[in-house]
Each structure stands twice: as C-alpha cells, then as structure tokens.
C-alpha cells in the first residue's frame, strides 16, 4: 500500500489556519456557547439575576421600612388590597407587603446561597479525599455520609430550631449546609473514581506531579461539572427548606420577613385576601423554576455526549 506520505505537513498552512475558528475556544467558552442555546436557561438566568439585584437592593428600593406598622390604615385587622399608597397592599399589621416581599427575598436567597456554599465547602474536600485516596479514609467518610442520609433532615432541622429558641439566621444556614454536604461529597467521589483511571491523570502522575497538584489542578476541574448542577439545585432546595421552616414558625423570627412566614400569616386571609398567600408562593416558585432551568441548561451544556437538542 503505497499510501505512506512522508510529509509531516499534509495540508497547507493557510488552509489549516482557516480551519481553526478565530475565537480560541476554551472549555468555558464552549460551555457558554452551548448554554446560550437553551432559551429557558437564559430566561432563568435573567429572571434570577433580576430577582437577586432587586432583593439585595431592598434597602434602597423599598418604599417603607419592613417593620414599620401602619395600624391606623388597618383598623379592623383586615389587610389592605393592592393599590394606592401600598403597591401590593399590606399585611394585617399595616406593613407594606411589597417591602416585605423584597426583604423576604433577600433572606431566602441568602439562606439558599450560603447554605449551598457551606455544603460545597465541606463536601468537595471530603469527596476529593475519599475518591482519590480510597481505603480507610473513603470508608469512614462514606459511613458518615450514609448516616446523614438516613436521618430525616427536616424533622431534625425542626427540632434544632425549636430547641434553640430564636436561632440566628446564620445558624439556620449552617444547619441546612451541614445536612446537605452528603450529596455533593458522593458526587465528587464518584467523579474522582472515574477520573482517577483516565489517562490524562496517569499522565500527570507520570510527569512526576505531586498528589496535591494532580488533585487540584487536573482532576478537580473536571470533577466539578456535575457539582455545579447539584449546587444550583441545592440553592433551590435551601430556599425551600428555609420557607418551610419559617412557615412552621421556626427559622427567621419576626419582624424580619420571610416568604414562608408571610405565607403562614396570609393563610388566615385565604378567602378574602388570597394575594397574601399567592404572591410569596409564586415568588418561591419562580426562583425555584429559574434555578432549575439554569441547572438544566448547565447539564446539557456541560455534557460532552450531548446527543439531544
């Protein structure tokens, strides 16, 4: 078969240069390009962005302070309808509902984000150790993860909250994070187990790199892709947990507003002022949806074997 060419440069330089796109396509740029194709994900990103900005600008935007009572405006304890002085009406103590929604959003989003960060801070390092070193460390860490998985989180969370009267919001965030690191750890460990045997990792070892460098610079960036998705979903989960807690009267205490607590207060006026219940619920739903869509978009963008459009 005389097809063997000796040339090391089979095609001309110009052709080859044209073959490459003018944009250097790093991994993240490629991911972003794929992400952009998901209209829902982009919508979710925009919505979430708007909500975050608005809620965290609450002190600036809100027309009233959130705890300010206007009892004179609600003489018979019946909250006001939306319109007029109060954009979304008031609650039964005359506090502006719109303001409370904003501040409530701040609380919920903060709890969701911080608790996720705590879960990541615990779960990722432990997952790395368990996945890379295996052996005894792996066994111990996995037993702990299983233990936390067996515990019904919500009841224990309730108990903790009930036991510590008026827990600060930081404690609430810490607790949700502490119960949530198991999933992250398991996922990181699973990724490490797969990646450990891939050739580019072995190549790094063959090049004489120390363990720490291999773990952090080579394996971890590749292992984090599913973790990003879990993190997104976990923020939604954290928000949900916080609202559930405040719905039951635990968690964040009055007068600090929380969407869950507002829902609970609104329950008494379900018949006549349904918006007091509807709006916080819809807000939680919208944030949750936005995060889920973003997570979906990320999942497809990060999946190298993406076959479905």
């Amino acid at each position: 078969m005389e097809d063997i060419t000796n040339s090391n440069h089979p095609i001309s330089i110009d052709e080859e240069e044209k073959f490459f796109s003018s944009n250097v396509e790093s991994f993240w740029r490629m991911v972003w390009n794929r992400f952009k194709k998901h209209k829902l994900a982009i919508a979710g990103l925009i919505v979430l962005g708007i909500m975050i900005v608005i809620c965290f600008l609450a002190p600036v935007i809100a027309p009233f302070p959130y705890e300010e009572l206007h009892l004179s405006d609600v003489p018979d304890g019946m909250p006001l309808r939306p319109g007029g002085k109060y954009i979304l009406g008031t609650d039964q103590l005359g506090r502006d509902f719109f303001t409370r929604c904003l501040y409530g959003g701040r609380i919920s989003l903060t709890v969701g984000i911080v608790s996720t960060m705590i879960a990541l801070a615990i779960g990722i390092p432990l997952g790395c150790i368990a996945g890379y070193y295996g052996g005894a460390a792996d066994m111990i860490i996995m037993r702990v993860v299983e233990f936390f998985a067996c515990v019904p989180t919500f009841p224990l969370l309730l108990t903790l909250n009930a036991v510590l009267d008026n827990p600060s919001i930081y404690l609430v965030m810490a607790i949700i994070g502490i119960f949530g690191w198991g999933g992250v750890c398991r996922q990181v460990r699973a990724q490490f187990l797969t990646l450990k045997n891939q050739e580019f990792v072995q190549a790094a070892e063959a090049l004489g790199y120390k363990d720490r460098k291999v773990i952090f610079k080579h394996i971890l960036p590749n292992a984090l892709t599913p973790v990003i998705i879990i993190a997104t979903m976990s923020v939604a989960g954290g928000i949900l947990m916080e609202s559930s807690l405040s719905y039951l009267g635990l968690g964040v205490q009055e007068p600090i507003p929380s969407w869950g607590a507002m829902l609970k207060a609104g329950k008494s006026f379900l018949r006549d002022r349904p918006h007091l219940c509807m709006i916080p619920g819809i807000l939680i739903l919208v944030v949750s949806l936005a995060l889920n869509f973003i997570g979906d978009g990320l999942r497809d963008a990060l999946d190298p074997r993406n076959t479905r459009n």
């Binding site: 299983e146 233990f147 998985a149 067996c150 515990v151 019904p152 989180t153 919500f154 009841p155 224990l156 309730l158 108990t159 903790l160 009930a162 036991v163 510590l164 009267d165 939604a236 949900l240 609202s243 559930s244 719905y247 039951l248 009267g249 869950g260 829902l263 329950k267 379900l270 018949r271 349904p274 219940c277 509807m278 916080p280 619920g281 939680i284 739903l285 949750s288 949806l289 889920n292 869509f293 076959t307 479905r308 459009n309």
Partner: protein, 323 residues
C-alpha cells in the same frame, strides 16, 4: 441475599443508636428540663427544695449520658416514655398515627410512579412536539412548587371556591352513622388533596428523569437493532426501552423516603391529618421531648427500611449490580 438483609439490619442498629444519641444531646441543649412540664412555674419557684427532690426522683439531676442510657434502657423494653403534654404513653399515641402516614406515603409513591413514568414516556416519544412541551413544563413546575403553598392553593380552589373536596381532616364526623359505601367515599375524598400534593413533586421529578433516560435508551443501537429485527413497537417500548430506562429512576428512589417523611411534617399540619408528621410537628412546637425523640427515631427507622427495600429491588431489576 438473606445474609445481605441481615447484614443491613445489623448496620441499622448502630445507625439508629447514633441518631438517637445525636437527637438526645440536641434536645438536651434546650433550656429547662422535664420537670418544667409537670409543674407550675410559680410552684417551682416557691419550693426549690421540693423541686430538688422531684428532680432527684425523676433522675433529672444526673449528667446527660446517664440519662441517655436510662432512656435507651427504657426504649429496649418497649417503653417510649410519656408525652409531657397529654401524659399518655407515647407508644399508644404513635401506634395510632403511623398507619395513616404510611398510607399516604404509599399511595403517593404509587401515583408518582404510575403517572410520573407515564408522562415521562409520553414526552420522550413525542419529543419536541406540543405534548412534550406542555407536559415537560408541567413536570418542571410540579417539581419546583413549594408543597405547602400548593396545598394552600388547592385548598383555596377545591375546598373553598369550588367546594368539591373537604379541606382538612380524615373524615366528616356527621357521616359517622352513614352506610359503608358513603363512609368509604368520604374517606377517599378527604385523602385526595393530601395525596395529590404529596405526590406532585415526585411526579414532576420522575417524569423529567424518565423522559431523559428513555431518550437515552431509545437512541441506543440495540433498540435500533431490535426494530430492524422486526420486534413489535409495543414490545420495544415496554420490554426493551422501558426496562432499561427504569434503572436510573431506581437510583432516585433512595431519596424519596426522606423527602416524603420530611414532607409529612408540614403537609399533615396543613391538612389536619393525624399522622406521624403532625404528631411530631406539634410536639416540636410544644417542646414535648419524649414524643420528639420517638417521632424522629421512627422516621429514621422508616427511612432505613425503605432504603433497604429499594436496594433489594435494585438488585432484582439490574443484572449488572452485585450486592
């Protein structure tokens, strides 16, 4: 297989003990102690020496680990203690309430699988066509909706506005003397909303997962080969694609039970269902510690048993999995 089950049951015991230790110590952090529940605070303040005596008698002055061991001892003998609130044995009250929680959970799981998987397959088969868009969106919304809010919305719509279904409770008292048929329907009507709300989130997540894994399997070469060999569409859908698509779903199963049990704590109080969750929530709000301990222990036990059943099912369904 039997050996595996036994091994798992043996591991459950230290886990439960671990959970009980954690729980007991957490509760111990609360201010005050059991005597607060039995006595009027004024009396307590007026007679400190008497209180000392009472405390000694109840063993409340001993350090926490001693009290824990005593509690454990009682537990092993079947004594869950007495509710601070109602003064009755916890076990009797618990026994009456577990059934309904398990019933709702089982019905909910059943619905989740039946409807969730069906919707998922439907969406996968009509990918990118209108049914897919509609149902996928519904599935996502179902998955993201905060359950307690949905409960309120449904009560508003179905119980208050439309008056089709009752809003709370398990049965209507005034029908107590009606015929069996009417009473049965009454019970069913009372269960519709709680079960639906409990199942919605699960339906959503299963539908999405099923859609995605069905699509994955559908595009595999071995399905194409089966079709080329002339296997009928029905067999392709069920025997081949569905079975293989189920496998990732089962991995989700282990997360269902903690979610359901946790969910029951909120949903039961909204719907006024006298189950395990409601009992626990009330106890937590009233600081009824023996009940709290018992409820949490039981919830953990239910979760562990459920996980064991799921793991066994997993082995039976997926031939690649080894125990």
């Amino acid at each position: 297989m039997l050996k595996y089950i036994l091994k798992r049951i043996l591991t459950m015991i230290p886990m439960l003990i671990g959970i009980s230790i954690m729980c007991y110590f957490i509760i111990d952090l609360a201010p005050g102690d059991a005597s607060d529940m039995y006595f009027n605070p004024e009396i307590m303040a007026a007679h400190p020496e008497y209180m000392e005596q009472v405390r000694e008698q109840l063993g409340l002055d001993k350090p926490v680990y001693v009290r824990y061991v005593r509690w454990l001892n009682e537990l092993v003998h079947g004594n869950f203690g007495y509710s601070y609130y109602s003064k009755r044995p916890v076990w009797t009250e618990l026994k009456a309430r577990i059934g309904i929680t398990v019933l709702i959970a089982s019905l909910s799981i059943f619905l989740e699988f039946l409807i969730g998987l069906a919707i998922g397959i439907l969406c996968a088969k009509h990918q990118n066509k209108p049914p897919d868009y509609i149902f996928s969106t519904l599935a996502v919304i179902g998955h993201c909706v905060p359950a307690f809010w949905l409960a309120l919305v449904m009560i508003l719509v179905f119980a208050i506005k439309l008056k089709w279904l009752p809003s709370t409770g398990l049965y209507t008292p005034k029908l107590a003397n009606a015929s069996l048929g009417i009473r049965f329907m009454d019970r069913v009507k009372h269960l519709v909303l709680p079960v639906t709300v409990t199942a919605v989130s699960g339906i959503g997540s299963k539908a999405r997962q099923m859609r995605s894994s069905y699509l994955d399997v559908m595009n595999q070469d071995y399905i194409r080969t089966a079709r080329a060999k002339g296997v009928g569409e029905r067999a392709i859908t069920w025997t081949h694609t569905f079975r293989n698509a189920c496998i990732p779903i089962l991995t989700m199963m282990s997360g269902i039970l903690p979610a359901l049990i946790g969910g029951s704590f909120i949903l039961e109080s909204i719907f006024g269902i006298p189950g395990l969750g409601f009992y626990g929530t009330e106890a937590i709000l009233k600081h009824d510690y023996p009940v709290i301990m018992a409820t949490i222990m039981f919830s953990s036990l239910l979760v562990m048993v459920g996980t064991l059943i799921v793991d066994i099912l997993y082995v039976l369904v997926d031939p690649r999995v080894k125990l």
